[in-house]
Amino acid sequence: MTDILASVNYWVTIFLMVGGLYIIVAHGNMVKKLVGLGIFQTSVYLLFLSPGKILGGTAPILAKEFELYSNPLPHVLILTAIVVGVATIALGMAFVVRIHEAYGTVEDDEVQELETDA
């Protein structure tokens, strides 16, 4: 039983990743695609953070009372990744706004149709 539960964190990660991927691939609305991209991104955060957790450990802020700390390195990497993530999402949103101004829609099928008609 513990063997099965031992990698449950990866399964959650994979579920979120696949869910995000599905939203990006299957849906045509660009705002929704970006939300999917965000979910995909957070699954990567989880992929980095969950192996760094040590059972019985505590947050890596050194104090005399504690001996065992979780791995601080993934925290650093993901901390910056989150803020970079919002910057990329913002850039994507800016594109969405411009596409909406140019075509009057944010569905990629409709944009493609308008392109072929023109």
């Binding site: 705002v31 939300v35 192996p51 700390y69 791995n71 650093v76 800016a94 101004e101």
Partner: protein, 325 residues
């Protein structure tokens, strides 16, 4: 969290999608606390649940809020995704089990950081020490990416001013909100400063504080209108501050070079190695704070400003331009 993901997949109203995304981020932040990543959780709560949601709502003010029904059958994407997921789950069989201290990823540099961070940098929060000192190059790179992202948004949204169609309703006339925001504003700013300067000792640092400070101004802007927020923090100041933060960071590295050390080595800045590192971390975090806060504000101004322009255009009822043929 799983339910929230299904909610995002199923919902067609984009407001629901965005709110689900916000709830999802908040849940993710609590999971991060459970995983001992307190610094990361703070960032995720502020950025994922706060900033992204506000940003997406601002965009929804500019575009249609309903998703068109799917035109293709979702079967092929579904199969592809399930296959990918299956392959990935098969791959987890060989991965090390959850939570053991003797897993390979917890053996390499992490114990070194945990043992030496306090001795070498004087900062008990190992995450801050690694972020600003040991892996300073990474962080400098990330700050530059944020800088580039902010510039990209500005280029896309402010170069040509055309009118968008949509109605952005700013909640300017609600007295309860106005009073509450005025009460909250100093508290949030104080909290941001605390997070900034306490980052060496507790969870926090330039990234979190930057987002929190930007959030305070954005909250003000949402209630009183973007113009009022621009009066508090003018756009020109924001645009100057974005590169200034990167320059502070990079300049600290150059200061190390001039004092006969490696780039981004802060040790010679103080009387002892520890004092120098401490000072270096503080300065670098200040650089991060400046860039992050001003980029977030610039992005908000860009999106929110558009929404207000659209609103103003509708109100004045100007003659139709070339777009409405």
């Amino acid at each position: 969290m799983v339910a929230a993901v299904f909610g995002v997949i199923r919902a067609h109203n984009l407001f629901v999608v965005v709110m689900m995304g916000g709830i999802y981020s908040f849940l993710m932040a609590t999971v991060m606390v459970a995983l001992d990543a307190v610094d990361v959780a703070m960032t995720e709560a502020a950025v994922g649940a706060g900033m992204s949601t506000v940003l997406m709502l601002a965009v929804l003010g500019l575009v249609k809020t309903r998703e068109a029904p799917l035109r293709h059958s979702p079967v092929i994407p579904l199969i592809v995704c399930l296959l990918t997921g299956g392959a990935l789950i098969y791959g987890t069989i060989d991965l090390p089990p959850f939570g053991r201290a003797d897993n390979p990823q917890n053996q390499h540099v992490a114990p070194y950081y945990l043992e030496n961070a306090k001795k070498e940098t004087g900062a008990p929060n190992v995450v801050t020490a690694v972020l600003a000192s040991y892996r300073g190059y990474d962080t400098l790179g990330e700050v530059t990416v944020i800088f580039t992202g902010g510039i990209g948004v500005l280029v896309l949204l402010t170069a040509v001013r055309r009118r968008g169609e949509g109605d952005a309703t700013m909640m300017r006339d609600t007295i309860i909100l106005r009073v509450v925001v005025k009460l909250l504003l100093p508290v949030i700013l104080l909290f941001a400063l605390y997070v900034q300067f306490h980052g060496d000792y507790g969870p926090g640092g330039g990234f979190q504080a930057g987002v929190a400070a930007a959030a305070a101004i954005i909250l003000y802007g949402m209630i009183f209108g973007v113009m009022a927020a621009r009066a508090v923090v003018p756009q020109r100041v924001v645009h100057t501050l974005i590169p200034l933060g990167v320059l502070i960071f990079a300049g600290t590295g150059v200061a190390g070079l001039l004092l006969d050390a490696n780039y981004l080595d802060y040790s010679p800045l103080g009387s002892s190695q520890k004092a120098g590192q401490h000072l270096g971390i503080l300065i670098v975090e200040a650089g991060v704070f400046v860039t992050v806060a001003s980029t977030m504000l610039a992005i908000f101004y860009a999106f929110g400003g558009r929404a207000e322009d659209a609103l103003a255009d509708d109100e004045t009822d100007k003659p139709d331009d070339w777009r409405r043929e």
